[in-house]
Amino acid sequence: MKLYEYQGKELFKRAGIPVPQGILAKDEDGARAAVAQMGLPVVAKAQVLAGKRGKAGLIRFCHSQDEAVECVTQWIGRRHGGETITSVLLEKPLDIQKEMYLSVTIDPAAGMPVLVACGEGGMEIEEIASQKPEAIVRQPVNIFRGLRPYQIRDTVSEMGLSGEQARSVSQVMASLYGLFRSLDAELVEINPLVLERDGKLVAGDAKVRIDDNSLFRQKEFKRGPEQFEDELEYEAAENGLSYVKLDGNIGVLCTGAGLTMTTLDLIHMNGGRAANFMEFGGATYTRSATALRIALKNPQVKVLLIVTFGLVARADVIAEGLVKAIQELKPELPIVAAVRGTNEERARELIRSIGIPTYDDTEEAVRRAVELAKE
C-alpha cells in the first residue's frame, strides 16, 4: 500500500531524516491555524496517492492566508486519479540550492534491495535515467549484511558529493535503508532531496510503499478504500479478490491472473470490451459468490463471461458456488461459461442445469460473449 506524503514524512522524521516544517489541513480552520503558526509564505500540497500532482495544479505556492485557505477548501473533495482529496499539507517553502534523488527499492531481477541515487534529481529523474544513465547510481545491497558504510561512501562519491554534503547525504541514506527494512517497504523515495542554500538537507517529498503481504506484521498500517481507484476494487480486495474496473460491457470472472488477462485479450481481439478484470481463487463457495456479486454491481455489464481452468479448486466446487450465487442473485443478463478442470463433467452439468451454456474452449466462449454483448 502507498502512504501519503505526510505519512511518509512523519516516518522520515522518526528515522532522523529532516523534513520541512509542515501542518496537515483538512478544512478552512485548519488552513488558517497552520498559516498562523508557520507564517507566510507556505506551499500547499494536496495529499494524493497517485502521481502527477504537480501537473494537475495540486501544488501551489501561497503568499497569503487566503490563498492557502482557497487551496484547502477548493481541493478537498475534488477527485484526482480515481481518489478523493481529503487533506492538504501546508509547508514552509524550501530555499533550494540543489535537488537530488534518493530511493531504496527492490531489484526484482537481482532479488536484492537496491539504493538508487542521483546527484541531479528533481522532477525529471526518469528523463535523466533514460538520457544520462551514468548520472544514476545503483548500489545493490546484500540483505543479510545490509547497506555498508563503504557502499554509502562509493555512492556519495559517484554522486559527485564531498565534505559536509557527502556526510549529511550519507546519514540520510543509512536512515532510508533502515526505514526500508523496518517498514517492509517496496519503496522509500525522496524526490527531490533538497539541499538548501544554507547547506541543510531536507526531504522535499516522501513516497513510501509498504508490501501488502507484510501488513500482518506491519500493524501500524491499515489498507483503506483510498488505496483503490474504485469502491468495488476495495470491496474485492477486502474479500481477497483482485478486481479492476474497465470501461467495457462484458463482465469477466476468471481464475488466475494469466487466464484473466488472456480472456481480456481474446475479448479485445474479437472486437468486444471487458467491463472488468476479476481474478478469484475459487477455493470456496463464498469467494465465487462474492466475485459474482461484485462483478454485477457494475451497471455497464451486459453479459457475464466465466472462464476457469481449475488448479487448486475442483471445477465442480467452483460450479456449485457459482450456481448457488446465480440462483440467489438472479442476474437478468446472459451468462457464458467455460469451466474446466477436475470433475469438469459434473461442473458442466451443474451449470447447464440452471440454463447457462457452457463451452470446452475459452476462445469459443469469448466469441459467444462478444456476440451477446453486441446484441
Partner: protein, 293 residues
C-alpha cells in the same frame, strides 16, 4: 527425464499435517512422487498417507535423505521453513504459498544463492515432471491437459498454464516438466534458470514460455538465447496484451526496470531471437508441432 524433480528424487513435505498439505500429499503420491518424509513441528511420529512425520527438517534429512522439499506453509512462516530446509542441506524447494512478504523472499533468495539452492515459487502451482513426480498442485490427472511428452513448459501463470497445456496435448504432443515460477514480483527461480535446465535435458525438445506483463524475465530469456546458451525451439505465449499499464513502484521502479516490462517490448525481444510468439492459446500447440517438424 525432464528437469528438477524425478521419480527417484527423495521429497520432503513441509507442513504435511495441515489440511492443504495432507490433501495434496495424496495427489503427489499418486503422481509417483517419492515422498520420504513430512515435517510439522510438534507432530513428530504421526503419519500422513503412510508418510512419516518428523519434528524438524534436520531429522527428516538425516533419517530419510530428502533432497527436495515442497512447502505447504502459511506465508508468515515461509522464511523460517525455507531457512530450516536450506540449513539442513535441501537444495531444491517448491514454495507454494501466496502472500509471502517480499523482503522475506529477498532473504530466502540470498540464502539460497549462498548455498547454490533453487527455490521455485512462491505463489506457484508447483512443478510436475509428467509420469515421474509432482510437487505442488499441477493437475496431472487431467489426461487431456497433461501427459508425458517432449515439451517443457515454464510459466508465470496457473490456470492459463492448464489452458496452454491442453492445446499442446490437443496437438498430439505431451510435456516433460511443467515449472510454475509463480506470480510474485520476486520469484525464487527465473525463466533463464529453468532454460539452462531444459537445455541440458535430452528429453525436452521444445520449450513453451508463458509470460505476463511486468518484470524483465522474458527479456532475460531472449538475452540467454542471443548469447547462444539456449538453443532449443521455443514458443511463447504472453498474457495481458490489453492490460492497463502496470502500477509502477514510483520513479525507482522505472529506473530499475529500464523501461522494460511491456508485452510489446517482450514480444519484440523474443521474436528478435527467433522465438515464435503465439497470439492465442490455441495457436501454441500447432506452433510447437511445426517447430518440431
Amino acid at each position: 527425464m525432464g528437469i528438477f524433480v524425478f521419480k527417484d528424487t527423495r521429497v520432503l513435505v513441509q507442513g504435511i499435517t495441515g489440511s492443504e498439505g495432507t490433501f495434496w500429499t495424496e495427489w503427489m503420491l499418486k503422481a509417483g512422487t517419492r515422498i520420504e518424509a513430512g515435517v510439522t513441528p510438534g507432530k513428530a511420529g504421526e503419519r500422513v498417507h503412510g508418510v512419516p512425520v518428523y519434528g524438524s527438517v534436520k531429522k527428516a534429512v538425516k533419517e530419510k535423505g530428502c533432497e527436495a522439499s515442497v512447502l505447504f506453509v502459511p506465508p508468515a512462516f515461509c522464511k523460517d521453513a525455507v531457512f530450516e530446509a536450506l540449513d539442513a542441506g535441501i537444495r531444491k524447494l517448491v514454495l507454494l504459498a501466496d502472500g509471502v512478504p517480499i523482503q522475506d523472499m529477498l532473504e530466502m533468495k540470498a540464502f539460497a544463492s549462498e548455498v547454490g539452492a533453487m527455490i521455485v515459487g512462491p505463489n506457484t502451482s508447483g512443478v510436475a515432471t509428467l509420469g515421474e513426480a509432482m510437487l505442488g498442485f499441477v493437475p496431472f490427472w487431467l489426461g487431456h491437459v497433461y501427459r508425458p511428452g517432449s515439451v517443457g513448459i515454464m510459466t508465470r501463470s496457473g490456470s492459463l498454464t492448464n489452458e496452454i497445456a491442453s492445446h499442446i496435448v490437443k496437438a498430439g504432443l505431451g510435456q516433460t516438466t511443467v515449472v510454475g515460477l509463480g506470480g510474485d514480483p520476486v520469484p525464487g527461480t527465473r525463466f533463464v534458470d529453468v532454460m539452462r535446465l531444459f537445455q541440458a535435458d535430452p528429453k525436452t525438445e521444445a520449450v513453451v514460455l508463458v509470460g505476463e506483463p511486468g518484470g524483465t524475465m522474458e527479456e532475460e530469456a531472449a538475452e540467454l538465447i542471443a548469447k547462444g546458451e539456449f538453443t532449443k525451439p521455443m514458443v511463447a505465449f504472453l498474457a495481458g496484451r490489453t492490460a492497463p499499464p502496470e502500477k509502477k513502484m514510483g520513479h525507482a521502479g522505472a529506473i530499475i526496470s529500464g523501461g522494460k516490462g511491456t508485452i510489446q517490448g517482450k514480444t519484440e525481444a523474443l521474436e528478435s531471437v527467433g522465438v515464435k510468439v503465439a497470439m492465442k492459446p490455441s495457436e501454441v500447440g500447432s506452433m510447437v508441432k511445426a517447430l518440431l517438424g
